[in-house]
């Protein structure tokens, strides 16, 4: 059953060193900033982080990187105009990088959540990102074999949750959240506010409660600061 928290520290309690952490968001849209900040204070280290980017500026994921907690980044687009924290660590040989095409990144997490053992993907065939990977020709088209990416933890941002853990998102802030929620053993969602069970229209729920273990209610958390 889903637990609702108002204290970010409690929401991220128990994340172990060495965990694979899936972090939602595309740019700042859907980025679970309060959960990342709490994770920094919580102290888990030697993490593998899976996220589309590798941090912007000096806050959020960039701050987690700057604190030396991340052993490896799996992402599609680390290099950005304001990714100086990652860039510095990478050039200093202090962080490992696996670059994955954005759609393959999403699909590998979907596979983890959907119990698919591996899938043949047409993306990246003939490119450096397919090097060392198994390939196969099916019906005249070439594919690369891709394996699931499973998380120990997912930290995601959603718009509204209900007390059972159902989530809805808002506009393009939906991005990786619904997929990551399915792919992690422990999914923690921050939401702008929590409503009573039954207030969300069942037709419009994007992430069913079965995928959500903990919710951080930002409306209550902010009020308490």
């Amino acid at each position: 059953m889903t637990a609702v928290f108002t204290d970010p520290e409690e929401a991220v309690a128990g994340i172990a060193d060495g965990s694979t952490v899936l972090i939602g968001g595309f740019g700042m849209a859907g980025m679970p900033v309060q959960l990342i900040d709490a994770l920094i204070r919580q102290g888990a280290t030697d993490l593998t982080v899976v996220s589309n980017n590798a941090g912007n500026g000096d806050t959020g994921l960039a701050a987690l990187l700057a604190a030396g907690r991340v052993r490896k980044m799996i992402c599609s687009f680390p290099r950005q105009s304001d990714s100086w924290v990652f860039d510095g660590l990478y050039r200093a040989g202090k962080i490992e990088l696996e670059v994955v095409p954005q759609g393959t990144l999403a699909e590998r997490m979907r596979a983890a959540g959907a119990g698919i053992g591996a899938f043949y993907c047409p993306t990246a065939v003939g490119t450096p990102l397919a090097e060392g990977k198994e390939t196969r020709t099916i019906d005249g088209r070439d594919y690369v074999l891709e394996y699931p990416i499973k998380g120990d933890v997912a930290l995601i941002g959603a718009h509204v949750g209900d007390r059972m853990g159902n989530l809805v998102y808002r506009k393009t802030a939906r991005n990786f959240g619904p997929v990551m929620a399915t792919a992690a053993a422990l999914t923690i969602a921050q939401v702008h506010h929590v409503v009573e069970t039954g207030e969300l229209d069942p037709e419009t729920v994007v992430t069913p409660c079965i995928y959500v273990d903990r919710i951080l209610d930002l409306s209550a958390a902010e009020g308490s600061l």
């Binding site: 740019g27 599609s76 290099r79 860039d87 999403a106 393009t172 997929v179």
Partner: protein, 224 residues
């Protein structure tokens, strides 16, 4: 059969003219993804009522123009992370669904920038291959692989005069044999099983282009 149009009475295309040219060639009602950077400007040249529906890979169909002032909503951005707007008939979906849409061949056209395009339509646009460059691919490979047609927009030559339409890409590849059209400042090229044909030239001729390229190019309608 149509033949190559050589615009010899003018100079090369400006960036806006190039974007307008690409927009002209997008069929009405198409579902289109415009890549980050210069391709994004194609949207400004789509005629009103074209019915073209824009996809942004971060989870939206029916994307409108860039947002300004009070329209700016941090939850509504395009793949370049620029605030955008929503048009009537829009829909939102998550990343796996968005790239399933792309990978599954449902987009009619995507427009991308490029470092190099080979005569077979191989695309290189994600990585300079420089030893100190941090690799970052984003959705480039997914777009190159998934769309029914890939249009490239680029200058035909680098600043030092090296051709970017080449026999073989020397930069790391984004996708194999995926580009069908190349829109450049000097000419529009069609790439097909028979090789590279020149549809239009601007400020030069087919012969002029041929003299500066290592790729064999021929006018429209001429057999290889």
């Amino acid at each position: 059969m149509s033949s190559t149009v050589e615009h010899l009475d003018r100079g090369p295309l400006g960036r806006d003219e190039l974007a307008a040219l690409v927009a002209r060639d997008i069929p009405p009602g198409s579902f289109v993804n415009l890549g980050i950077g210069q391709p994004t400007t194609v949207a400004d040249h789509l005629p009103a009522g074209s019915g073209v529906v824009l996809h942004t890979e971060n989870g939206m169909l029916g994307m409108g123009p860039a947002a300004h002032g009070d329209e700016i909503d941090p939850d509504l951005i395009n793949a370049g992370k620029i605030p955008v707007t929503e048009l009537p008939g829009a829909s939102y979906f998550h990343h796996a669904d968005s790239f399933a849409m792309m990978r599954g061949g449902h987009l009619d056209v995507c427009v991308l920038g490029a470092f190099q395009v080979s005569e077979r339509g191989d695309l290189a646009n994600w990585h300079t291959g420089a030893p100190d460059a941090i690799p970052a691919v984003g959705g480039a490979m997914d777009l190159a692989t998934g769309a029914k047609q890939v249009f490239v927009m680029m200058t035909l030559f680098t600043k030092d005069g090296t051709p970017k339409l080449v026999p073989e890409c020397t930069y790391p590849l984004t996708g194999l044999a995926c580009v069908s059209r190349v829109y450049t400042d000097l000419a529009v090229f069609h790439i097909g099983p028979g090789g590279v044909t020149v549809a239009e030239t601007y400020g030069t001729s087919v012969a002029g282009l041929a003299s500066r390229l290592e790729v064999a190019v021929r006018p429209l309608g001429q057999q290889p």
